[in-house]
Amino acid sequence: MITRSLDAFKANGQIVIVGASLAGLRGAEALRDEGFGGRLTIIGDEPHAPYDRPPLSKQVLEGWVKADRTKLPHRREIDADWRLGVAATGLDRTKKLVRLGDGTEVPFDRLLITTGVRARQWPNPAEAGLEGVFTVRTCDDAARLQAALAARPRRVLIIGAGYIGSEMASVCRKLGLDVTVAERAAAPLAGALGNVIGAIAAEMQRDAGVDLRTGVSVSALEGDSRGHVCRAHLSDGTRLDVDLVLASLGSIRNVEWLDGARLAAGYWGLGCDAGCRVFDVHGVVTDDIFVAGDVARSPHVLFGYQFLSMEHWDNAVLGAAVAAHNMVCEELDRRAHLLVPTNWSGQFGVNIKSVGVPSFGDEIAFTQGAVTERRFAAAYGRNGRIVGAVTFNQGKWLQHYEALIMRSSPFPPPPAGFDVPADARSVPADFPPRGVGAPDVILTGHDPNERQAELVQPPR
């Protein structure tokens, strides 16, 4: 955008936000805070006004809060044209417009993409379609799942023990329901926090009466004559009678609608610079397309400039604020989104918080508290510096670790003066090996000047 037209753009321009959840709402508010007075359109595929998701796997499933009562408060008037219940299906960068599922088109001068992620479904569509098989990501999911839990199933099977699966297992035990958790890795939360912490999470589950089975996967789900799930087959040959299954298999980035737009969109998300400006398929930055929230993937200075997706609440809020600012400012005023991400979970009576990127580390050391009491802090290190930390019921110390991470302080950190853990030696954090996605980009053209990237679309 030509600088001298910035004022005109702020007064009369058109901004479209695709994705009407936390990042979309906060982005819209930030645009107005930044003085954008033009036309603002917010497109969301769900019919609901923006709502908060963290309670869906906790208070909502416990029955404390109704699934439709987690709407996000608005911080200010937005004066936007809300297009809810209709998905964006395409982006035409030449004509600068977004195509919608109802056949209409919305033109934009600048675009903010906040389409987030969706729950990965059970991969066998017939089995996924059985009655009693759930995922939880949306408030509609949570409402259905809560009703099914309230009907008191005889046994619940949770496939995958990440944060959502573990929280759900905790809810089941709180409701007095029998629950089996099947996790392919050696322990719950292993992907996020490594097997050392995972072993503690496993103990918490077993102490609470969860039938936790690790190192196994579910090979098939079976339905009864009415089409309701009734049995699960595990990779170790066991069969399990179950009448409610939650597939908590992680998430899939909502990028399919960008097919053909030649942006750096794929399995890991939509690539952007640290200022939330989207890269095209070649890795060249675009001028008018921005991204924030779960779907964004940007290089992070603290973590070797590696591209990180941070599927956390604060990433949505703070990333949207940076994107909004950069959408309506001069080049020299641009800001960077330099988040030290934080994350929280509540399960089995324990408040778990993390800061930084634990999975970037390869070593862990307990730094405060007592593991046996499930009240401790631990730091993660890589190449002799601290990159993350986790606390169990010790969340008040998180800021200390955040400050150490921001300064790239040495790992292990200096010992605490009190409440020192019995064993404070650093050990391998033991993260499960991360799957390497197949390359989905190839280069064509012989002469370097003719090189072009081509996205190879995986079969969908």
Partner: protein
């Protein structure tokens, strides 16, 4: 002015109404070594860092501060010097209160106390105090009908929190006349300023020790009565605790009851009085809040930022050498985190000396920070909200009589001794 001089000035009684220029001076060195090797911290981000640093202890027994404070032990525990207390030492000596302890004891005591105070076990206790508080403040204002002048501290700000904390702890409110004096003298004797070395200062410290002993004896009496007869309130609940952490030791119960009784009203009085004082110093703010009462909670947080009820708490010390802000705090050195100075750090709060209803002061240090963050904060917020809202609604045309008002001696708990106002009258209760 050296940091040492600036700190001494900030602590001087004559500067109690306005210590802020000296804190501004001190903040030029955000972590400064002062007299007796005390490290005084006045920068916001340095206070946040040290409040969350697990190498900083809150246990007075770890630092050299005790030796520095004349009169020795300031934890409130009975000491050998207190005659007639020897027989109590076995049972009531030795342990300390949560604000003067570190994890894991601190974490355990806080859990044990919170079980009887807040969620998840007692989510209704604090909300249940609202109706009681509304009744108290309305009764107080009814008594002032027909008057054209009253003292916001004695006639309004003090009686509310003292009644509420008595009810919560199970302390007979009719004993207030006694322990009011003891607490005032006890706090008055904790002098960390230059006046401590004067004859008058020494007299106040002696008086403070006597009063602390009297208060201790009084609370031991309540604890022993609760042991035998049970009863309502937190004292009885702590004495008969059957929670997963078991029961606090008798001396921990005593120490924490002293803490909750003193901190449970004194700092609240300061905040409510400072609310009235600050609004009267800022013309237009009262009208604005009357029109938009939804801004009252924000106004209270802003007053707490501007006039910290607890300026600092002199408990902390370094357990190892700590590098911060270009200096090294040596192991063992006492550390004073000056919340009151951090709350006016221009790097954190632009235009810090201005009272602004536009400001979102939630990040202020008024409630402390880290694991020792104010235990009673949710209760204090409720009390001050009720107190201020009712004051604004019913007190007609309040005007300050003297500004600044006289202050109480304590440097730690800073608040007006009196705050006289003239009024045009008191409105009826009306439909509330």
């Amino acid at each position: 002015m050296t940091p040492e001089q600036a700190f001494a000035e900030a602590m001087k009684f004559e500067n109690r109404p306005n210590p802020y220029p000296f804190f501004d001076e001190l903040r030029k060195t955000p972590v400064a070594r002062t007299a007796h090797g005390i490290y005084v911290v006045t920068g916001y981000k340095e206070i946040i860092a040290l409040a969350h640093d697990p190498r900083v202890s809150s246990d007075l027994r770890n630092g050299s501060l005790l030796a520095m404070i004349r009169g020795g032990d300031s934890s409130g525990a009975p000491s050998d010097a207190d005659s007639g207390m020897a027989e109590m030492l076995d049972k009531y000596g030795g342990d300390t209160m949560m604000i003067l302890s570190d994890p894991p004891d601190h974490s355990r005591m806080r859990r044990q106390a919170m079980r009887h105070f807040g969620p998840p076990h007692c989510p209704d206790l604090i909300p249940s105090m609202e109706e009681y508080s509304v009744r108290i403040v309305n009764d107080l204002l009814d008594k002032l009908k027909g008057k054209h002048r009253f003292d916001v501290v004695d006639d309004y700000a003090y009686p509310l929190p003292v009644a509420v904390i008595c009810k919560i702890l199970g302390v007979p409110v009719e004993d207030e006349k006694q322990f009011h004096v003891w607490i005032a003298e006890f706090l008055g004797g904790m002098d960390l300023g230059p006046e401590a070395a004067t004859e008058e200062g020494k007299r106040r410290q002696a008086k403070g020790r006597e009063s602390r002993t009297e208060l201790t004896k009084y609370l031991i009496g309540l604890i022993e009565r609760a042991e035998k007869k049970g009863g309502e309130g937190m004292i009885a609940q702590l004495v008969h605790d059957t929670g997963p952490d078991g029961r606090m030791s008798s001396s921990e119960i005593l120490q924490n009851c002293i803490l909750l009784l003193v901190a449970g009203h004194d700092s609240t009085v300061n905040l409510l009085a400072h609310c009235v004082l600050t609004l009267l110093r800022n013309p237009g703010s009262i009208d604005k809040l009357r029109k938009r009462p939804e801004l009252i909670p924000r106004a209270i947080e802003e007053v707490l930022r501007l006039e910290s009820s607890v300026q600092f708490f002199p408990s902390r010390s370094a357990l190892s050498d700590i590098e911060i802000a270009g200096t090294t705090i040596p192991s063992g050195a006492p550390i004073f985190l000056m919340y009151t100075a951090g709350n006016r750090d221009p790097a954190q709060f632009p235009d810090p000396n201005t009272f602004s209803l536009e400001r979102d002061a939630k990040e202020s240090l008024g409630w402390g920070a880290g694991v020792h963050t104010c235990f009673g904060g949710p209760l204090a917020r409720l009390e001050v909200n009720v107190g201020l809202e009712t004051f604004l609604r019913r007190v007609r045309n309040p005007r300050l009589v003297v500004d600044p008002p006289p202050y109480r001696p304590s440097q730690i708990f800073r608040g007006p001794l009196h705050c006289e106002i003239e009024i045009d009258g008191i409105e009826d209760r009306g439909a509330s």
